[in-house]
């Protein structure tokens, strides 16, 4: 049976490659997997919840307030504002393709989207709410109650709200970026300069951390391997300690989850502290503090051009 499925899958792949007139490339970067098939009722509930400000304590913030799907799944501020109008500690990462990250949050404090929902809803800096009140608000809405009863055997519960949101987020993938097309064998999808940019990206060692399906998002790394970024930046904060705040491990000072580079061109500003307003600046910082290299002239530009090919589509439209 499995063999059968495998043959079928291979057949499909072969069919696709025939259509693209080329085989997929074997690169350290991988194209996005297909969007997972999930219960549409739950996904639909997740969509409603995602846009529902009742998740925040004072009905001011929904998930979509900071994770704006029209802004690359994040917002354009270095720090989004919490329910109380005060800026949060770190820059808002994009919600797009978040399901493909091995951990959630900059400091990777949780493994799953469900737990991520829990942290955000109850965080005193973000939504500041409690599950008791959230569940009550949702359950008191007859429309929600009915749909929850349809989608879940036990109706409106904390795990079901988390699950619905997480399921919705799992569907938030941005396929069909030009680079993915290239990876899938359509080598004409990239211009020569973009291909050079990709080649530089690999040569300079960006690829050491930004690889895999999500081009990042699968490991932790110290920010400032080749130099102390925070000293140079000034005003070190608690959030700058990154994963250390979670593990307390001395090895984890200023260690962060390597962010995904998908849609990176539309998610400025960059880094956990939102300190890089442009992609060029972000690439320069990476060269200096992570790679310990000085790029040759134009290489930054080339890399930035390559990075722009990583922008995918949402609902059929490029982000």
């Amino acid at each position: 049976m499995a063999l059968h499925g495998l043959t079928l899958a291979l057949g499909l792949l072969v069919g696709m490659s025939v259509a693209a007139h080329a085989a997929p490339l074997d690169e350290p970067l991988k194209p996005l997997p297909p969007i997972p098939t999930l219960d549409p009722k739950r996904v639909q509930l997740g969509l409603r919840l995602f846009n529902d400000p009742r998740l925040s304590v004072n009905n001011t913030l929904s998930c979509a307030s900071c994770h704006r799907l029209d802004k690359g799944g994040a917002d354009d501020k270095p720090f989004s504002l919490g329910f109380d109008g005060k800026p949060v500690e770190v820059n808002t990462p994009t919600v797009f393709n978040a399901g493909l990250n091995f951990h959630q949050f900059w400091d990777g404090r949780v493994d799953t989207l469900e737990e991520q929902v829990h942290i955000v809803v109850t965080s005193p800096a973000e939504m500041g709410s409690t599950w008791e009140s959230v569940v009550k608000r949702i359950a008191d809405d007859p429309g929600y109650a009915k749909d929850f009863n349809d989608a879940y055997p036990d109706g409106v519960t904390k795990p079901n709200i988390q699950g619905a949101l997480a399921d919705y987020e799992r569907t938030l993938q941005t396929p069909n970026s030009r680079f993915d097309q290239y990876l899938l064998g359509n080598t004409d999808a990239l211009t020569p300069r973009e291909k050079f940019g990709y080649q530089r990206f690999k040569e300079y060692g960006c690829i050491a951390c930004h690889q895999g399906v999500n081009i990042g998002g699968n490991m932790f790394q110290k920010f400032g391997i080749m130099g102390d970024y925070f000293v140079d930046r000034g005003n070190p904060t608690r959030a700058d300690e990154g994963r250390f705040n979670i593990t307390g491990d001395e090895n984890d000072h200023q260690v962060f989850k390597v962010p995904s580079l998908r849609n990176v061109a539309v998610t400025a500003p960059y880094f956990h502290d939102g300190s890089a307003p442009t992609l060029e600046r972000a690439v320069e910082v990476m060269f200096k503090y992570q790679l310990g290299r000085e790029p040759l002239k134009n290489d930054t530009t080339l890399i930035v051009e390559f990075l722009k090919t990583l922008t995918g589509e949402w609902e059929g439209k490029p982000l």
């Binding site: 091995f102 699968n218 490991m219 790394q221 110290k222 080749m226």
Partner: protein
Amino acid sequence: MTVLRRLGLAFIGVLLAGILLFMYINSGAQQAASYIESRDLIRLLKQQDAIWDNEILKSRIALTHNYDPLVSPLHEMARLWQRLDAIEAEPGRHGPSLWEAQRDEYLKLVKEKTRLVEQFKSHNAVLRNSLAFLPTGEDDIQGQFARLPDTYRLELQNVAIDTYDLLLSSMEFAQLSSPDIAAEVLLGLNQLEVNKERLPEGLLNSVEVLRRHIGVILREQPKVNELLTGIEMVPLADRLDTITNLLEKDQAKAAAKYERNHVYLLVFATLLVLILIWLGIRLIRSFAEIKRVNNALQTANDELEQRVEERTRQLKDTQSELMDTARQAGMAEIATNVLHNVGNVLNSVNISADLVSRKLRSSKALGLGKAMQLINEHTDDLGHFLTEDAKGKLLPGYLNQLVEAIASEQQSLTDELAQLSKSVDHIKDIVATQQSYAGANSLLEPLVVSELLEDALRMNSGALTRHHVTVIKEYGDVPRIMGDKHRLLLILINLISNAKYAMAGVSNHARNMTLKADVVDGETLQISVKDEGEGIPEENMTRIFAHGFTTRKEGHGFGLHSCALAAIEMNGHLTAHSEGPGKGATFQLQVPLKLAEGEP
């Protein structure tokens, strides 16, 4: 007692069945199945762990640059573990807290390994990057050297060589991170630091970059090696083996229990079967008992039947005896009856005989003798005598008178003898009738009812005359019938005789007896004898037909009885009616009318 025993037996049976059911439910087929599944899950876990290790090593030797495979086994392992935990955490599978201890240990190890792998990923990425950069950095420096003016180049020859040496030792260090080589690299780095001061500005930067990267290698390589060793040291596979051992041990225990259960099952099943067999035997025995009792009952029944039969036979014997007795009694009755009737007729015979003998005694025939004597005395002169003699002259006249007298006398005698003969015939008939009682059906013959009545009257004529009974005859128009003459006659004679007796004491009025014969409704012949005698009192009305009932001193009590019997034998009946004592009585015989042949 029996009920108690049965209840006890039923209880034991139910108990055994319950135990069997319990054991069946408890029996560990399921356990065995889940054990196999658990073993399979552990195998898959080990496989994922090995894949993980493999991917780590591949990253270590820079075979792949994609770290996704270092993440995915963990997801798969978490999924597998969840399934395994769901199976094994079920109560009763392991000793208390045994599984929990294993689970905690496993999760701790996974966490530790994950932590080390995360660190490995980070450090390895940095190390790989720097190692990959080394040749580029070196090329960069050597390129710059090459571009330097020759004099300068000669001067810096040593620096170039030192840098090259440093590169080599760094690469050597990447392969074999011994302290010697580390010291060598450190020495090279210091040398580079010293050489740096002699370098021109442009070259300085490149050397600095290389130096930093080598520094990274020097720092990260031992770290990566240490992490790899650490990862290798995480006894995750061993833990899984331990878990396997635990499973095996508990499975062995479960199997032993299963086996023991089987033995128990066998024992209890055997017990149950034994009870069933015992019950079966009991059943068979009870069947035998029932059969035996049935047989006994059958025997008793047969005996009883036999006894009943015997008794019936005895009763039959008694009955036939009784019947014989009855027959004898009947015969006696018949004899009495016959004799009574014969007596009645004999009376007539007697009278006739008396009459004949008296007539003969006073017969005028004697005169013939005297006449003959006279003739004989005058034989010689007979003519003279007859013509002349006074006496003789009278003789012919006398003889003529005598002839007349004798003729009348003879006629009278002949009549009387005819009557006698009739009576004798009647007697003969009575006797014949008596014989017919013995079984023969009555003999039907054509009869004229009036003649029959006259015969009956004639048979009683003497008595009737003696008793001065006037007979009033009211005969209707009765056709010739087929009838039993003797029975009818018997009845009539008796009734007439009774009427005559009944009126024996009557002196205040004429003794009238009325005889009636009629046909009623065209199908019944009705003959009645009415007297005006003493009558029948009410209390005797029902008894008069009974055998032995009589009101007369010399009576037998057979007359009316036999009459009633005879009437019944002719399919008719005899009834009596009386207004009461002194008011006379009417006896009425009714028999079905059977017309004689030739009658209309």
